[in-house]
Structures are given as structure tokens and as C-alpha cells.
Subunit: 365 residues, 2 copies
């Protein structure tokens, strides 16, 4: 049970991502941003840091984070990058390197990513590659980046040919989550982030799934008593999967549940029209339906998933493109090494597996 402090903050909870000498903690709480500084100083051992953020998030939270970092004796710099996925490019990356050099960041410095997945991916790859790797901390401010992007060490930028084509597996030394920073997140973004939480329950943990069925509304309204334990569990699942398979050679592929079709939808609709979580929601419903049709999951699996996705206010049906559009979208799946795709199916709520299918089998006529 979440314990309330006098300040109204839910007591911090800690999850450990277990990766040998690259292990690190995730700290989740509500109203904990002002305590981040000393924790970041301790986790990185840095004497100076740069906060990389986007305009809106920076305006709301950078000053508080800076104050907290300074109280821990750190020298603090700040870089604001434009918002939006198109910021994740080689040009912005080069601008970050220039800024880091101008600030005089050395191997004992650290990068603090304050924002969503875009900032985490871009700043993370900059931290991974500047001087062959300096300290890195994630302070995610979206549900999506809290439960997904900030855990697992995937950093990347896009090329004009596609998304996330250049990057590194680079673990942060700390992930600091304050759910109070979600207050400024639009409802649509909160719901989209919840898609990855639903995914975690669907593929790995029937209890989390049930908890979401009971507490979705309270969680979306950012009630810490509902949301902190849910995010804690979602982070723990991601952390557990990543620990077992840091480089995506095995079980980590289960995290692709719903993503095969989601990528096709995003490609077809354009990344601006549909949020990643929305595309994943559609893709999960589709994958659950196929899981039933192919005889992997019992009847009713899709319906339960659909109901929860609906409760979160997420879209359920794939856009009505011609079949050939989906087939061509599936052809370019980056993970595919031959004609088959490792498609993630459900056996039941809480248990997933992969099956090798051709695009035509995934999306039959």
C-alpha cells in the first residue's frame, strides 16, 4: 500500500534494474522532483550536469530540478531542444555535442534528460557517445517514457530513411520518476502512455491487468494511491524483461506485442496524426484477435483487452487501409531477418509468446 507523507506525496518506491555492473535504480514517487538533485549527484558522481529538455517541460520543471541539483553542489547547465519526434536527428545531436563542449563537460559530467521519450532518446544517445560515454540520468515526464522509454537503455536518433536507425544500448545510472510532473500532460498523452502499461499486464502479469481494470480512471486522474503502484509494477516488468535480455536477443521481443501493426499504422498515417500508444492499442487488439483466430488464446481474450483499452479512452480499431497497405507496412519491419516476422501472440491475459508468420499470415485476406 502506498504510504502518504505529511506533504501529500506518496512515499518513494524503488525498483532495481538488474544488469550486473550496469544495474541502476528507478525511483517512483509523487511530488519528489525537488529531491532529485542529491540522488543524481550520488548516482552519477558527477560534478557538473547538463539538463536536456524541451520548451514546455523546461518552463515548468527545469528551474526546480536545477535548484535541487545545485543544492547538491552540482554545476548545472541547460539545453532546450525543439519538441517533437523530428528533433531526434543527427543535426540536433551535433548541436548537443557542441553545447557539451562549450560547457566543458568532461568524463565526470552527466546528462539529465528531463522530458518524454524524444528527449530521453536524443540526450541518451548524446550521453552514450560524447567522449565515448558520460553519466546519464532519466527524469521522464510522460507515462510512456516512465514505463517504457526510460527503462532498458535504448537510445536513438532517426535518419530520414526511418526511425531509431542510429543509437546505442546505454543504461542510465538512475531513473527518477515524479508522477506529479504528469499534471501538465494532456489527457490524450496520458491515455497513450497507458497503452504500454496495459501491454505489460497483457503479456506478463494478469494481476496488473486486473488492477488496471479496477483502477484505470483513478490512475488516469493521477491519484498517487492508484498510479504509483501501477507504474511501479509496469516499470518492474519492463526492468525484469530487460534484465533477462539486455540486447533484444530473446524474451525482450515480447515487448513488441501490438507493435508490428502499430509500426505499419504509424508509417501509413504519419507519426503526427497518431500517437505511438494509440497505434499500439490498435495493434494489441488486432494481435489479440489473431491470437484467438490462430488458436493460441481462448475466446474472450480480445474482448477483455478491448474493454480495458476502451476504458483508457484509447482507439481500438485499425484504420481502414487496403490490405496491401498493411502488407507493405509489415515488409519493412526492422526486426525481420527473413520473410517471416516474429509476431507476438497472447496465450491468455498475462502470458505471451512469439510465432513466426509471414506478413500474409499476420494479415490474412
Amino acid at each position: 500500500m502506498a504510504v502518504r507523507k505529511a506533504s501529500g506525496a506518496v512515499k518513494r518506491r524503488k525498483i532495481r534494474v538488474d544488469l550486473g555492473d550496469r544495474s541502476y535504480p528507478i525511483q517512483i514517487g509523487s511530488g519528489t522532483l525537488d529531491e532529485a538533485g542529491p540522488a543524481i549527484a550520488k548516482a552519477t558522481g558527477a560534478s557538473q550536469v547538463v539538463i536536456v529538455t524541451v520548451p514546455e517541460v523546461g518552463k515548468r520543471y527545469a528551474a526546480r530540478l536545477t535548484r535541487s541539483l545545485k543544492s547538491a553542489g552540482l554545476k548545472v547547465h541547460r539545453v532546450v531542444v525543439p519538441d517533437g519526434d523530428s528533433t531526434k536527428n543527427l543535426r540536433e545531436l551535433a548541436r548537443l555535442y557542441d553545447a557539451f563542449l562549450e560547457f566543458g563537460l568532461d568524463r565526470s559530467s552527466a546528462v539529465v534528460a528531463l522530458g518524454g521519450g524524444v528527449v530521453g532518446d536524443l540526450a541518451g544517445f548524446a550521453a552514450a557517445s560524447y567522449l565515448r560515454g558520460i553519466g546519464f540520468v532519466q527524469v521522464p515526464t510522460t507515462i510512456l517514457s516512465m514505463v517504457d522509454a526510460s527503462i532498458g537503455g535504448k537510445t536513438a536518433v532517426n535518419l530520414k530513411q526511418g526511425k531509431n536507425l542510429v543509437g546505442a544500448f546505454y543504461q542510465p545510472s538512475l531513473v527518477w520518476i515524479d508522477i506529479a510532473t504528469l499534471r501538465s500532460l494532456p489527457a490524450r498523452q496520458r491515455a497513450a502512455g497507458m497503452a504500454e502499461v496495459i501491454k505489460a499486464g497483457a503479456i506478463w502479469d494478469a494481476r496488473l491487468f486486473s488492477k488496471l481494470e479496477k483502477n484505470m480512471k483513478a490512475a488516469l486522474s493521477l491519484d498517487p494511491v492508484a498510479l504509483v503502484p501501477i507504474l511501479q509494477r509496469a516499470c518492474a516488468i519492463k526492468a525484469q524483461i530487460v534484465s533477462q535480455d539486455e540486447r533484444e536477443a530473446g524474451v525482450r521481443i515480447l515487448l513488441n506485442f501490438g507493435h508490428t501493426l502499430a509500426h505499419a499504422v504509424e508509417k501509413k498515417l504519419g507519426y503526427r496524426k497518431v500517437l505511438h500508444g494509440e497505434a499500439v492499442a490498435m495493434g494489441m487488439v488486432f494481435a489479440a484477435k489473431r491470437s484467438e483466430e490462430l488458436g493460441f488464446a481462448p475466446d474472450g481474450t480480445r474482448e477483455r483487452l478491448e474493454n480495458l483499452i476502451n476504458l483508457a479512452g484509447l482507439p481500438m480499431a485499425l484504420p481502414c487501409f487496403p490490405r496491401r497497405a498493411y502488407l507493405s507496412g509489415l515488409q519493412v519491419d526492422k526486426k525481420k531477418t527473413d520473410k517471416h516476422i516474429r509476431f507476438v501472440v497472447l496465450h491468455k491475459i498475462g502470458k505471451a509468446d512469439t510465432v513466426r508468420l509471414t506478413p500474409e499470415e499476420i494479415y490474412p485476406a
Copy 2:
């Protein structure tokens, strides 16, 4: 003793770089380029590879390497980048990504760096970052890259502000050394590469140092019976040091012997006028002199080092810049985290240590 095969090639020798699940072998031989293909196929598990090389080296060796790779069933692409250190930049890196995408390289593909340190650093960082890391093999064709750059996983590109400011620690899955490829290397480059071999003996192995005193001329003329065991031992030393300290937190700093002043010389003279190995040779003589003066090494240490460096045809004396030029060159040492520099001194031939000195103490008036 080196065993000659009927072909005249010295039997291959293998060194293992021990880095847990990132361990890999170095294979050294003479006339072994035509056998590289099957070994690369086995080490990487790749179905297609791209050879990254420079014009002169590519003209001489790429066709043979391609034939050998094709004989192992691999699909082979080739990219030729301009020669010279200025090639190691973000623009050439982006060109490599574009080429990799055009070839359709996926996560089961590999990059083969055929050339010296520039190619290894640039292609290595491209391999480290493309799709967050694909297969990587080094086929070094200079002494310097054989014993130094190809071992240890340091990859990097330069920024306009300085050298090697962006990169990754990324281990290859194989280093394939054919000393016959050194035949086309100018004598000056051979000697410069030998500076790092001398360094390995000076800091780590008095026996290697003695062997160099006896066989330097034969080694520089590429006699396999002399050169293969020498390179084998130099590689083994580098491998051993890297194994103990992959991320440069400890003993690996000893490899900086001679480099503190070398960097200052390179910066002052410009990278085109002095070869890295030449600058290192001067820096080592200086460091040995300071080791004696500071009472770390017995008299005669500098003289023995000087004689060997002279035997290799390398320069011994630092260029006569004003002291303030050296002091300012020392200020920008990238490894420095405070006013002190960890300066590598010799205790005797075969044994080194670090001492914290200010630039003024390193280069007294």
C-alpha cells in the same frame, strides 16, 4: 617459434581478448588475408557484410578479401572513404549510415574495417551505432592499428573542436591480422607503428623490449619470423590491459605512456606534419627523462629507450616550442578531471605507474 607453411606463410597465431561475453580472438599471420572470409562468417554469424576501406588499401586488398568472404557464402558490399584523419567526422559517418541502409544491412549484418586506425575508428563507430550495434570485424593494415587501434574497442569520430570527441566502446567479434598487408605501408608509417610496440615493452614487458632491441631491423623489414611473435606479444599486452580495464578506469591509463606530451606536440605541429607514433616516440623519451629526474626510474632507462627508438628510425627530441606552448597543450588533456594530470612514468623498462602532476611539474622551467 614461428612455423612456416608450404606457402611461405607463418602459421597463424591466436590471442584471446578476454572481456566476458564480449571476448574475441585476434588472429595474426603472414599471407592469411585469403583465409579471412570463413573466419569472419563464423565470428559474426552475418549473412552480409560491408567492407569499409580507403582508396589505396581498397585497391590492393579489397578484391581478395571480397573473394574470401564470398567463398564463405556472404553477400559483400563495399564503401570507400577518403584517406586521412579528417575523414573521421560526422558527415562521413552519416554517409556510411546512408550506404548501410541502401545495402539493406540489418541486425544480422556486419561491418569489416579494412585499413588503418581511421577506417577502424570510423567504421567501428558506425557499426556500434547503426541499428544500435551490428557485427564488427577489424582487418588492420598498419602496424599501429594492428597492435593498438584494433584492440580494445575504442571507436570514435572527431568534431571540429577536437579529436575522438564522439564515439563508443564497442568490441569487434574478430581482429584478423595479415602482416603481408604491411608491404605496401611506407617505411615511415611502419616505424611510427613500432612506437606503440616499443611502448608496450617499456610499460609492461622487459622481454618484449629486449626482443625489439635484437630484432627491430628484421621486424621493420617484415620478416614474419621476427615480426609475427613481436606483434603477437604487443597485441597480447594490449589485450591483457584492456581485459583488466575495458572502460579506462584503471590500469589502461598506462597505455598513455608518452601520450601526454605527444598530444601536445600533435596539437601544436598539426596532425599532418607529425605521425602519431612519431609524437609518441618523442613523448616517451621525454617521459623517461622525467621518470629519471623525479627519481622513479634508475639512470640509463631513458638511454635504453632512446637507443631503441633511434633503431626504429623514430625521432627522439621534442620540437623546440616555448615552454608556454607545452603548458597550454597540457591544459587541454581530455583525461584531466582537475588541475592535475595522471602522468605515466617508468619505474624501469617493463614497469610503469602513474603520478599526479600539474602541467608545470610535468614540464618544468
